[in-house]
C-alpha cells in the first residue's frame, strides 16, 4: 500500500488509552483514505475519538495497531525523532486553542518552524511576513498573542501551519473558540489555502457549517467510522 504527496491513508488502526490492565479502547479498526488536495471534515459526537484519530495522523502518538501512511511514508513506524522531522517536512497543525507561544510576536511565532528547520534569518523573516500577509495580518506582525483577537490568533496559527509549505494540514476544531462570524472567515481562509496551495486539509469539527464547506465528511461514532447521509446532519 502506497500513496502519493498529500494523500493520507489510515489502515486498520486501533487505539486505546491507559497503560497496564486498565486500557480504555478509543478507536476500533479505523480505515480512512484522504486524497491529495481534499478538504475533509472529521465529525462526531464528543468523545467519539476525533482528536485521538487526528493525533495519530499527526504522529503525536502511535497507534496500538494498524498503519498510517502520509505522502507515501508509513509514519506509524517512525520513532519520536523521525516523527518530529516528518512534521517539520510535510505537516502543519492548527489547534483549537491556537497554542501560540505567548512571549513571541506573531511574526516570531510564524518563524519558529523555519528556525527549527535551520532556515536563514533573512529568508525566514520574508517567508513569515508573506504568510502573515496572506492570512490578512500584515499590520500585526509585531504583536504578541495576547494583543490579538481570537480570530487573529487563529490566523497566525494557520500562517504558522503553512509556513513550511506542508502537503497536509491537520486542524483540531480550529473554529471551536471563535464566534460564528470569525468562524466563517477562518473557514474561508482555510479553503482558500486549500485551493491556492493544493494543501490537503483534515479538520475536526462538530460544526455543521464546517462540514457543509468541506469536500467530504468522515463520521466517527464510538471509535468507529460510520457512513452517514449528509442530509441527516442537516436534519439534526
Amino acid at each position: 500500500m502506497s500513496n502519493g504527496p498529500g494523500e493520507l491513508t489510515v489502515k486498520d488502526v486501533q487505539h486505546s488509552y491507559g497503560t497496564g490492565k486498565i486500557k480504555v479502547p478509543v478507536l476500533y479498526d479505523i480505515n480512512v483514505h484522504i486524497d491529495n488536495r481534499e478538504f475533509v471534515a472529521l465529525c462526531g459526537t464528543s468523545g467519539s475519538g476525533k482528536s485521538t484519530l487526528l493525533s495519530l495522523m499527526a504522529g503525536l502518538t502511535r497507534p496500538d495497531a494498524g498503519q498510517i501512511h502520509i505522502n507515501g511514508e508509513e509514519i506509524s513506524r517512525y520513532n519520536e525523532n523521525e516523527l518530529c522531522l516528518f512534521r517539520r517536512r510535510c505537516m502543519g497543525f492548527v489547534f483549537q486553542s491556537f497554542n501560540l507561544l505567548p512571549n513571541l510576536t506573531a511574526l516570531e511565532n510564524v518563524e519558529l518552524p523555519l528556525i527549527f528547520a535551520g532556515e536563514s534569518v533573512k529568508r525566514r523573516r520574508q517567508r513569515a511576513a508573506d504568510m502573515l500577509a496572506m492570512v490578512g495580518l500584515d499590520g500585526r506582525t509585531g504583536h504578541k498573542p495576547n494583543e490579538l483577537s481570537g480570530g487573529q490568533q487563529q490566523r497566525v496559527s494557520i500562517a504558522r501551519a503553512l509556513v513550511n509549505n506542508p502537503s497536509i494540514v491537520l486542524a483540531d476544531e480550529p473554529t471551536g473558540n471563535l464566534d460564528s462570524v470569525t468562524e466563517k472567515e477562518i473557514l474561508q481562509l482555510m479553503r482558500q489555502m486549500n485551493r491556492e496551495h493544493g494543501t490537503t486539509f483534515v479538520i475536526v469539527t462538530h460544526d455543521t457549517e464546517v462540514a457543509n464547506q468541506s469536500d467530504r465528511v468522515i463520521h466517527l461514532q464510538d471509535g468507529r467510522v460510520v457512513q452517514k447521509d449528509t442530509t441527516m446532519i442537516h436534519a439534526t
Binding site: L60, R87, R88, N99, I115, A161
Partner: protein, 495 residues
C-alpha cells in the same frame, strides 16, 4: 537549527525568568568564586615562597656535585665509582634534556694579586667556560662587556674596585710609622715611583677598572733541596667588564674575578708542575681528589671546582634535577626546595579545590532543580514546539544550552567576585607589611615585601569559567532528556 538561533531562544527563556536564573547562578557563582579565590591564594603564596627562595640565588642555575649516595638515597656510592667534575662530566651533563648550558668553573690553585696603577688587591681567579656561560652571565654585567672569548680578559665583581688598596698611601703611612720608630715592614720591597699628590682619607674613592689594562701577579713556591724557592709571574689582562651588584648572598667572595678557563688551566699547570711538588700542596690536602688524580698517570685531567648547569625555566628545575641524579650527580641548590614547595602547595590546592568543588556540586543540584521546574512550567510550550517541527535533539540542545548558560553566568560572575576579592586582599597585603609577613614574606626579600598575595592567572580564569559552564551542561543532561522525551500530545493537553 542554527546555533545563533538557539542561543537567542535560550537567552529569551533565561531573561523571562530573570530572578530564578540569577538565584540559581548565584550558587555557581559562589562555588566558582571559592575555587578561584582559594586556588589563586595558594598560587600566590607559592609564588611568594618561590620568590623568597630566589633570594638565595637564581633558581635556574644549579651547582652540580658528584653524588655520594645512589639516587634511591640508601646505598652509598663507593669512592672509586663516584663521578668527577671533569670534562667528561661536562659532556654528560650537556646531553641531559632541559639543560641549556653547562658552566664549569675552576679556580686558581693559589693566590693572586691584581695591580692597576697605584692600587692593588688580592684576587680570587675563577676560570669559567666563556662560551657556555655567556648567555647567563652577560645579564649580570653592569659595566663593559662579558668575556668575549679572547685570551687575557677579566671580569671583576662589583665590589672589586672598592677592595683595591692604595698601595702608595699605605706605604706612605708605613713610612710615617717607620719614622716614629715602629720598625721595618717586611712587605716593603720598594721599586714604586713615589706619587705625592694623593690626599689622605680617600679610602672610599674607587677606581673605574673597566676598559683598563691590569696586571695579575701570581707567585709560586717550590722546594729545591728542601729550600723554598719563590717565582713570580705577571700577566697583562684587560678588564672588560664589571658584574652588577648581586643582592643575594653571593657564593663567592667580593674579590672574585672571572677569567677564561684556559688561562686558569695554564696557570694551574704552572703553579703545580707535575712531579715538582709531590710533597707540597698549597691547600694542605684540602682537595684529596686532585691529589689522587695527579698521582695517577692521567696528568692532563682537570677537575673543576664546580659545574653550574642552567635550565631554561623554573618548571624544568625538577625534572632536570631528577635526570642529573640518574647519571650519578647531585645538585645542591635552593631549587631543591622547589620540589617540596610545589608538593606542599599541590596538596593545599587539592584540599581547597575539593572544598570549593563541593559547593559547586551543591550549585549543580540547584541547576538541576531549576531546570526541572522550568520543564514543568514549559511542558505545553515544549509540546507545541515538537508539533510545529522541533526535533527531540532540538529540545535537548535548547535545555542543555540553557542550563550551561546558567553555569556560565555563575562562572563569569564568580570569577569577577573572586577577582575583586583577590584585588582587595592584595591591596590589604600591600598596605600592611606586617600582614604580608605573617603570610609568607619572611624570606630575605625583606623590605620589598609582597606585591601580590594572590594571583589569578589567565589559565585559572579560563578554567573556572569553562568548568562552571561544564557543570551547567552536566546538570542539564537529565532535565534535557526529560524535556525531549515529553509526549507532544500529553504536553499540549497539560495546562
Amino acid at each position: 537549527m542554527k546555533l545563533l538561533d538557539s542561543l537567542r531562544i535560550v537567552w529569551r527563556n533565561l531573561w523571562r525568568m530573570k530572578l530564578r536564573t540569577i538565584l540559581t547562578s548565584v550558587g555557581v557563582m559562589i562555588g566558582t568564586a571559592a575555587i578561584v579565590a582559594m586556588i589563586s591564594l595558594s598560587l600566590g603564596l607559592r609564588e611568594n615562597a618561590v620568590k623568597s627562595l630566589e633570594n638565595f640565588g637564581n633558581l635556574t642555575e644549579m651547582d652540580v656535585q658528584p653524588a655520594y649516595m645512589s639516587p634511591d638515597g640508601q646505598t652509598p656510592i663507593p669512592p672509586e665509582q663516584m663521578k668527577k667534575l671533569n670534562y667528561q662530566a661536562v659532556q654528560e651533563l650537556k646531553q641531559i634534556e632541559g639543560i641549556e648550558s653547562v658552566i664549569p668553573v675552576k679556580s686558581l690553585q693559589g693566590g693572586a694579586q691584581i695591580k692597576l696603577g697605584r692600587r692593588e688587591g688580592d684576587i680570587q681567579l675563577m676560570g669559567i667556560d666563556v662560551h657556555e656561560s655567556r648567555s647567563s652571565k652577560s645579564d649580570e654585567i653592569e659595566k663593559g662587556t662579558y668575556l668575549t672569548g679572547s685570551a687575557n680578559e677579566i671580569v671583576v665583581t662589583y665590589e672589586m674596585p672598592r677592595m683595591m688598596r692604595d698601595v702608595e698611601k699605605e706605604r706612605r703611612e708605613a713610612r710615617k710609622r717607620n719614622a716614629s720608630g715602629a720598625g721595618s715592614d717586611p712587605m716593603m720591597q720598594g721599586g714604586y715611583p713615589p706619587y705625592g699628590m694623593e690626599g689622605g682619607g680617600s679610602d672610599a674613592a674607587t677606581v673605574d677598572m673597566v676598559g683598563k689594562t691590569a696586571t695579575l701577579v701570581i707567585n709560586r713556591q717550590f722546594m729545591v733541596d728542601n729550600e723554598p724557592k719563590f717565582e713570580k709571574k705577571e700577566i697583562r689582562v684587560r678588564v672588560v667588564g664589571q658584574l652588577a651588584k648581586s643582592d643575594g648572598m653571593s657564593r663567592f667572595g667580593g674579590n672574585m674575578a672571572f677569567v677564561p678557563l684556559e688561562m686558569i688551566n695554564e696557570l694551574n699547570k704552572w703553579l703545580n708542575p707535575e712531579g715538582m711538588n709531590q710533597g707540597f700542596d698549597p691547600y694542605g690536602g684540602m682537595q684529596p681528589q686532585q691529589k689522587r688524580t695527579r698521582s695517577r698517570t692521567e696528568q692532563e685531567e682537570v677537575i673543576f671546582d664546580s659545574i653550574t648547569v642552567k635550565v631554561g625555566s623554573r618548571e624544568q628545575v625538577e625534572p632536570t634535577l631528577e635526570r642529573v641524579q640518574r647519571i650519578g650527580f647531585e645538585i645542591y641548590s635552593p631549587a631543591r626546595a622547589l620540589k617540596e614547595i610545589n608538593q606542599f602547595f599541590f596538596v593545599v590546592q587539592l584540599i581547597l579545590g575539593g572544598i570549593a568543588a563541593i559547593s559547586l556540586l551543591v550549585a549543580s543540584i540547584g541547576i538541576i532543580n531549576t531546570m526541572i521546574m522550568s520543564i514543568l512550567e514549559r511542558t505545553r510550550e515544549i509540546g507545541i514546539m515538537k508539533v510545529i517541527g522541533a526535533t527531540v535533539y532540538n529540545i535537548r540542545w535548547l535545555f542543555l544550552i540553557e542550563s550551561g548558560f546558567i553555569g556560565l553566568i555563575g562562572g563569569i560572575s564568580g570569577l569577577g567576585l573572586a577577582w575583586g576579592a583577590v584585588q582587595l586582599l592584595n591591596y590589604v597585603a600591600r598596605s600592611n607589611p606586617e600582614f604580608s609577613n605573617v603570610l609568607g614574606g619572611g624570606g630575605p626579600g625583606g623590605p620589598e615585601g609582597i606585591q601580590q598575595l594572590a594571583v589569578v592567572p589567565l589559565w585559572l580564569a579560563g578554567f573556572a569559567v569553562g568548568f562552571a559552564f561544564l557543570i551547567g551542561i552536566l546538570a542539564g543532561i537529565f532535565p534535557a532528556f526529560r524535556a525531549s522525551r515529553l509526549s507532544p500530545l500529553q504536553a499540549i493537553r497539560s495546562e
